[in-house]
Symmetry: none
Subunit: 185 residues, 2 copies
DNA sequence: CTTTCATGCTTATTATAATTAACACTATTA
DNA sequence: TAATAGTGTTAATTATAATAAGCATGAAAG
């Protein structure tokens, strides 16, 4: 969380290249001159937060996310799974990773909702947390007294004990990848 | 974006007063002139991040904490695409849902690997499980003595204590949504 | 080979932020 | 009644960042 070793120029450059943008392309999106990007990346100038905001909006990334150098040490590992198991019905498809989750600590789902599809009010009483990312389409998610429409790339994280529901508020199929833990059924 | 309504001046003033510092006292500690504090708090000037760093060091608070609007007593549920925390570098992008996972039981990531991107051999000794789904592109996974190429729609589930690695074996970017539990390191 | 385009970098000028030194206000104190 | 020390604000100057234009390199095309 400390910023002493925070190299702003390096971080901006990494983010820009990660998003496959040239200095000029980013500058154009951000509405600044290309020299600004060059100078900032070389740490030859310290941008005002106003300008930094504009630049980051062109990537896009928020200022707070930019400074969150959360180097959460991440486990870099993957393994092959079984075919996805269809556990849904009607106009909502739930494709689950893995067949028998009884001894597992994680449930990952590939969900597809047809337009208008609704989960209905759900009250879960087990201790678990749920998170996911919208792949395509549009989802209206209600958690407790909070409600928001999420689109492709947006995400969510909540405690499953809070009453929640979601529905496809768009005109096309909505696709979500979600995860929850533990998969106690 | 969460920063659209971010009032930098207001936030600085609130933090300064919370710490019972006068503009002059804070300026002295920060090594800047007192007028700077006044102008920033009135949003009459947009400080460079260099100056902002110095000012915040006088409170003291880190830049990342300053921009993290975690004042919200309310649990954060919705994350916009640009608010996902980028924790990657180089040719692998990891966008994490949520910033501080220290009290959470789930880590969900939106990953993007450039062609040829490779994690290298990793040996992890944590008791955790990981799962995910390939959204697009092609991934070659190696786990123990098994190896397989996964394409869009394929998925995986494994015990992360097994040595493993993965790389983008295709010609285009590969996108994965993955989850692992717990994020306690 | 030359031409064209895109890339990142550099320089001179312009715009903006930071400093210095004042101002106005309040509360305390002689 | 000043006189003093604290506060936040402001104006003029200086320092710095942002712009516009051009330079240099490298890749692809003619």
């Amino acid at each position: 969380m400390e910023d002493d070793d925070f190299d702003l120029g390096l971080r901006l450059r990494a983010l820009r290249q990660l998003n496959e943008l040239s200095q000029r392309e980013l500058a154009k999106r951000a509405g600044v001159s290309n020299a600004v990007i060059s100078l900032i990346e070389q740490n030859k100038s310290s941008p005002s937060v106003g300008v930094l905001k504009k630049v980051l909006a062109g990537i896009p990334i928020s200022v707070s996310a930019f400074f969150s150098q959360d180097l959460t040490p991440r486990q870099k590992v993957f393994y092959r799974a079984e075919d996805l198991t269809e556990i849904g019905s009607g106009n909502i498809s739930y494709q689950q990773v893995g067949r028998d989750l009884s001894d597992k600590a994680l449930q990952v789902l590939h969900e597809r909702l047809k337009p208008g599809a609704d989960t209905g009010e759900t009250l879960l009483r087990h201790e678990s947390e749920e998170s996911g990312i919208i792949i395509s389409g549009e989802i209206e998610l209600t958690v407790g007294d909070q409600r928001k429409i999420l689109k492709a790339g947006d995400a969510f994280y909540f405690d499953s004990r809070i009453p929640h529901r979601w529905r496809n508020s768009g005109e096309v199929d909505a696709v979500i990848i979600s995860a929850c833990t533990p998969p106690t059924f």
